[in-house]
């Protein structure tokens, strides 16, 4: 196999550096955090958040496990129709499924899409918090060892 004349990782490194610089300038111009004047700080924050978004498995984070106690934090994006009334409940359920649901389906589907987005965003935010907590824990450990 011959060596590639143009290496994707090298080009991407150049592009990503350029993107970070542009992003930093853009945020500063819009009144973003003054700490971003410092390129190193911006690069560190960018790397941490990018790691949370790109490298973490959003289905395997700690915070949702801890929150999952008395309240159900997850957005329920599917619709379940049930009844607690014996007898007449079956007719109410039938009316809901066959009459009411078809009429309001468009609203449900519209909301469902937005719920899905919010659910995804929640999981990204959990991952970001976990990444910060991990970094904090590592720094504490390093400090204690010194």
């Amino acid at each position: 196999m011959t060596e590639a004349k143009v290496r994707v990782d090298a080009v991407m490194g150049e592009i990503e550096r350029d993107v970070r610089a542009r992003l930093r300038r853009h945020l500063l111009k819009k009144g973003g955090a003054a700490d971003y004047q410092d390129e190193e700080i911006f690069a560190a924050v960018h790397a941490l958040l990018a790691r949370a978004i790109d490298a973490r498995n959003l289905d395997a984070t700690l915070l949702p496990e801890l929150v999952d106690g008395d309240i159900d934090w997850r957005l329920q994006t599917h619709l379940t129709l049930t009844t607690h009334r014996p007898g007449v409940g079956r007719f109410i359920l039938f009316a809901k499924k066959k009459l009411l649901l078809p009429l309001t389906r468009w609203l449900f589907e519209y909301s469902q899409d937005n719920f899905r987005r919010q659910d995804h965003l929640n999981r990204i935010l959990f991952a970001c918090i976990e990444e910060l907590a991990l970094e904090n824990a590592r720094l504490r450990r390093d400090l204690q060892r010194q």
Binding site: K5, R22, R74
Partner: protein, 396 residues
């Protein structure tokens, strides 16, 4: 060998990824083996409604073998008993995606996904032992999930797995333990599935084969389309699940910076495409237009977040076209990095920068395209691909 290929739908006019892959592999295996396609009468992948007549037919361009009067692949079609109930399916999909489905609900998901073809399963049960090997395409479909265990000791699975929520369901541990061997499309797919299969299960990463593109391509089919030069190309189903909504959003942001490149979207649309002077939807295009687009475009854009193998990407490289792909899809990113055949982006800002780079650095872009072609020559020519499959058939 007597081989059966099981796939959810089959036909020369069916463009789906795993269906097309099955057809190409089957056609090439038919040169050396006795191949039968076992499939359904469905053409529509949403409803699975019966379209083709049930029973035996011949499909494709395989030349007749000695002693046979007809060419083409032998196809046995079985009727779909029940069309898909999309509402029930979507509700179950939400449960699976949220990792809340019980084992029973997970299994129910496969049943609801369909196609529900009980006669196909009965054929496998009664005649499965008559085949030396039974190759199954795409684990997510009902006839594979329920059919493969019926012939597990002679089954080869082509999972076409993507990194979506379904791949993490618990029921698949048991399922992936059953095939005698695996044929994977990429190393990323292999990593995703092989970790859940018993250690030492024979497998091969085959991708898919391509014939070399013609040296000269007739560009005249593009004349009546009135395309702007330069243009970048999206080729495939225009669908939000393929990342097209994000692609359009990113592209509009890009041209708002004052650029005049056109985005040509060639493929049937299942979502609205905004009326924008620099976005040109073409709908379904024939092979002549497709070839000409691939030859004339400045770059291919692949925005899909989930892929098990991008055939379109390989086709683009076959024409020496560089690509800009969604980095959140590990398979696409892996393909581009292995080939050194394009760039990747993770968000809108990176999309804009990557596209700008490919358009502004023409020589580098062309070199990336040439490197992509060299990668296809190395890994994806038919003799290489068929050789890997034959080796696996011999080992299982």
């Amino acid at each position: 060998m007597k081989l059966a290929c099981v796939v959810h739908r089959f036909g020369a006019d069916i463009a789906g990824g795993s269906e097309g892959h099955c057809r190409l592999i089957a056609e090439h295996l038919a040169a050396q083996h006795d191949v039968t396609i076992l499939t359904t009468c469905a053409k529509d992948h949403i409803t699975w409604s019966n379209h083709y007549p049930a029973g035996e037919s011949r499909v494709g361009l395989v030349p007749p073998k000695r002693g046979e009067r007809e060419g083409g692949l032998r196809v046995l079609r079985f009727r779909v008993a029940r069309e898909r109930d999309m509402r029930r399916f979507m509700d179950l999909s939400d449960l699976v995606a949220a990792d809340r489905a019980t084992a029973e609900e997970q299994e129910h998901w496969f049943r609801e996904n369909g196609p529900d073809a009980p006669e196909l399963l009965a054929h496998l049960r009664q005649h499965g032992a008559e085949y030396d090997r039974v190759l199954f395409w795409a684990y997510r479909y009902a006839e594979v999930y329920f059919g493969l265990p019926l012939v597990g000791e002679r089954a080869i699975l082509v999972p076409t797995a993507e990194e979506d929520p379904l791949i993490h369901v618990d029921m698949l541990d048991r399922f992936f333990a059953q095939p005698k061997g695996f044929l994977f499309l990429t190393p990323e797919e292999e990593a995703l599935v092989a970790a859940r299969a018993p250690a030492g299960t024979p497998s091969a990463v085959i991708g898919s084969g391509l014939d070399p593109a013609p040296a000269a391509v007739d560009l005249s089919p593009l004349d009546p389309l009135g395309l702007v030069d330069p243009f970048v190309l999206y080729l495939g189903r225009v669908d939000p699940n393929k990342g097209c909504a994000a692609l359009i959003r990113h592209f509009v942001r890009y041209v708002e910076t004052g650029k005049t490149v056109q985005l040509v979207m060639a493929g049937p649309a299942s979502m609205p495409i905004p009326d924008h002077p620099l976005i040109r939807p073409l709908g379904f295009v024939d092979d002549g237009v497709r070839e000409a687009l691939l030859r004339k475009a400045r770059a291919l854009i692949m925005p899909s977040p989930y892929e098990s193998l991008s055939m379109v990407l390989l086709e683009a490289w076959n024409h020496g076209l560089p690509a800009l792909v969604n980095a959140r899809c590990k398979v696409l990113r892996g393909q581009v990095e292995r080939a050194n055949g394009g760039l990747h982006y993770g968000n809108a800002v990176e999309f804009i920068a990557g596209l700008d780079y490919l358009l502004e650095h023409r020589e580098v872009a062309q070199q990336l395209g040439r490197q992509g072609l060299a990668y296809v020559d190395r890994e994806y020519r038919w003799p290489t691909v068929v050789g890997k499959i034959e080796a696996l058939l011999a080992r299982t």
